[in-house]
């Protein structure tokens, strides 16, 4: 029983990692109706920027609050410079550009920083909460940060005019333009926000998994799965999906099929969930007019 609880709690911890990146994926989807495969690498790159600042002597929170806006600017820049010129290309061509971004960021980071793992500091205390041995304070804190970001996102999209404008621009760019929304800048804003969320995710994840250029590679698949299983247009669903994937991965791997078939089982699960609920658990079902 103790082992089961332990695995579930560890699953919540890794689930928090997936959830935080899934939020960034949802953000970019809400803004552009595209899934950005380079999201993980952008998050990783932003974390390296933070690491460089900390390594140069800056205190943690200064580096944190400098990196998030820097990531925002980076996201906007990428949208304007790299994505804008191909916006009229077929969707798959844009996907190829995302893939190109992914490999460029990964390769350049490996070249600048080498592949030796680096430690990234955590703002949370070193001692575990109440001396428990199940979850470190950082893991609990990271989940907390993810939930805060989720709340902020929810408020932004639901209650602010800017959030509404962004959703409109993504859903119906032509009509949005007609009512005066600067669609181009909405896209850029979406990219910037997604990059900023990714940076937060990266800085929460790095203390757990250690910082190296391939840090986000494995996380991306699970974050992608989490976002879709929860409903790609629902931030809350993405977080739920993240925790679900994390816990299932751990529990199935430990007690049901063993680690050697974990990925195959994840595949079957994803297909089963999507067949039963094609828009994910909490996604909005799209009705197409004929």
């Amino acid at each position: 029983m103790d082992a089961l609880i332990h695995q579930i709690l560890a699953g919540l911890a890794t689930g928090g990692i997936y959830a935080s990146l899934a939020l960034a994926l949802v953000m970019i989807y809400q803004a552009t109706h595209l899934v950005n495969f380079a999201q993980g690498e952008m998050a990783m790159f932003a974390t390296y920027i933070a690491w460089t600042l900390v390594d140069a002597g800056m205190p943690y929170w200064a580096a944190f609050f400098l990196t998030v806006p820097a990531a925002f600017v980076l996201g906007v820049a990428i949208e304007r410079i790299v994505i804008r010129p191909v916006e009229n290309a077929p969707v798959l061509a844009v996907v190829v550009v995302f893939i190109a971004l992914l490999v460029i960021l990964n390769s350049v980071t490996g070249w600048i920083y080498t592949y030796t793992i680096k430690t990234f500091p955590s703002p949370f205390p070193k001692e575990p909460l109440f001396g428990n041995r199940y979850m470190s304070s950082h893991e609990i804190g990271a989940i907390g940060v993810t939930l805060v970001v989720l709340a902020l996102l929810y408020v932004f999209f639901r209650f602010t005019p800017l959030g509404l404008a962004m959703r409109a621009a993504a859903q119906n760019p032509d009509s949005a333009r007609l009512v005066g929304i600067r669609v181009g800048w909405m896209l850029a804003l979406g990219w910037g926000l997604a990059a900023a969320i990714g940076a937060v995710a990266g800085m929460m994840v790095a203390p757990i998994v250690y910082l190296d250029p391939n840090m986000m590679g494995g996380v991306l698949l699970y974050a992608f799965a989490a976002a879709l299983v929860g409903g790609i247009d629902n931030p809350g669903g993405a977080v739920f999906g993240g925790f679900l994937v994390g816990v299932l991965e751990n529990v199935l791997g430990a007690f049901v099929i063993g680690n050697e078939l974990k990925l195959a089982v994840a595949l079957v699960l994803i297909v089963v969930v999507l067949v039963v609920k094609p828009s994910g658990f909490f996604g909005r079902v799209h009705v197409t007019r004929v």
């Binding site: 899934v35 790299v82 010129p85 191909v86 009229n88 290309a89 077929p90 798959l92 061509a93 844009v94 996907v95 190829v96 550009v97 893939i99 190109a100 971004l101 992914l102 490999v103 460029i104 990964n106 390769s107 350049v108 490996g110 070249w111 698949l221 992608f224 799965a225 879709l228 790609i232 050697e260 078939l261 974990k262 990925l263 195959a264 994840a266 595949l267 994803i270 297909v271 999507l274 067949v275 094609p278 828009s279 994910g280 197409t288 004929v290």
Partner: protein, 319 residues
């Protein structure tokens, strides 16, 4: 087919047949790989380009085809040419079976499901209870076939011509399929699937069959690939292979048969060029090439060629 197209094809074929005698064995080997990739890309293009079902996991079918050949040749002593239909049949079945639940999935969701397939297959290949068949992480080494009937060709040249012959057959079949009723049904489903259904197209059947045929093509390519490289291992078929295939059909040209060949040339030679340019970050250079190609030719190389040909024809007419 217009007379001009037939002439172009004939010239291409003549050049293709002459190449192994003019180039070194190493280049012949590389060209054999190009032909193999073009068959694989043709398969993926059928599914994603013509039928609009996005697949991020086609490397898995390539792997299944390759392992079929390796296991049949190594464990059962089947001659190499006989493994091709077997590999094709297995992949046709697996593809069709995967296509059935995929019917319920659209766009992104299908992409995720196929992505998961591509990611999980190497792990399956390493699974210890299948190790007796797959050779586990160590993989399977197979022997290269020699030219039959005492033909004066070395094994590289013979394999090139064998692959070329298979490719010609498969391309011809695909061309026939795609310009016929089924091909039009595929494109109709991609563009307006509700209208297509209303017009009497059996969407479910066509989509699943397309998945199966597409998997079969990529599987046969994988089988040929195993024979050419003489080695299969889980590490040869990770998710990057699937991603590279997708990149190949986009750069080559979606919904285009010639696009498969352009794409194959791209994915075979551009990484080597990138490596020559920079040892420090070769994939960054590859990424830059990708972005450059998408900027300059958003409809792929085939699209750009089509545009250029149309412009030339217009100029010729205006003279």
């Amino acid at each position: 087919m217009s007379r001009r197209q037939i002439v172009v094809l004939a010239v291409l074929l003549a050049v293709a047949c002459a190449l192994p005698f003019l180039a070194s064995n190493y280049r012949t080997f590389q060209l054999t790989l190009v032909i193999i990739y073009s068959i694989a890309l043709l398969g993926l293009n059928m599914l994603t380009g013509y039928n609009g079902q996005i697949s991020l996991g086609h490397g898995a079918f390539y792997a299944i085809g390759a392992y079929c050949t390796a296991i049949l040749m190594d464990r059962f002593g089947v001659p190499y040419w006989a493994t091709l239909p077997a590999a094709g049949a297995v992949c046709l079945l697996v593809g069709f079976l995967f296509g059935l639940p995929a019917l319920r999935l659209e766009g992104l969701y299908l992409a995720l499901a196929t992505f998961a397939l591509g990611v999980s297959l190497p792990q399956l290949l390493k699974y210890k209870h299948l190790e007796g068949w797959t050779g586990g992480v160590q993989g399977i080494v197979i022997n290269k076939p020699e030219a039959p009937f005492g033909l004066p060709l070395n094994s590289d040249q013979w394999l090139y011509f064998f692959t070329l012959a298979v490719a010609l057959v498969m391309f011809a079949l695909a061309w026939n399929l795609l310009r016929g009723r089924i091909g039009r049904a595929m494109v109709a489903i991609r563009d307006q699937h509700i209208a297509a259904e209303a017009m009497g197209v059996h969407t479910a059947m066509v989509k699943s069959l397309t998945f199966g045929v597409s998997a079969m093509y990529t599987g046969v390519a994988g089988a040929l690939g195993a024979i050419a490289v003489q080695f299969v291992a889980p590490d040869s078929f990770n998710i990057f292979l699937s991603i590279v295939f997708l990149v190949g059909i986009v750069i080559g040209g979606l919904a285009s048969i010639s696009g498969a060949l352009y794409g194959a040339l791209f994915i075979q030679f551009v990484p080597n060029v990138a490596d020559e340019i920079s040892k420090a970050a070769p994939w960054a250079i590859f990424g830059i090439f990708l972005i450059g190609f998408v900027y300059l030719m958003p409809m792929g190389i085939a699209g750009a060629v089509r545009l250029a040909a149309a412009r030339l024809a217009r100029k010729a007419r205006n003279v």
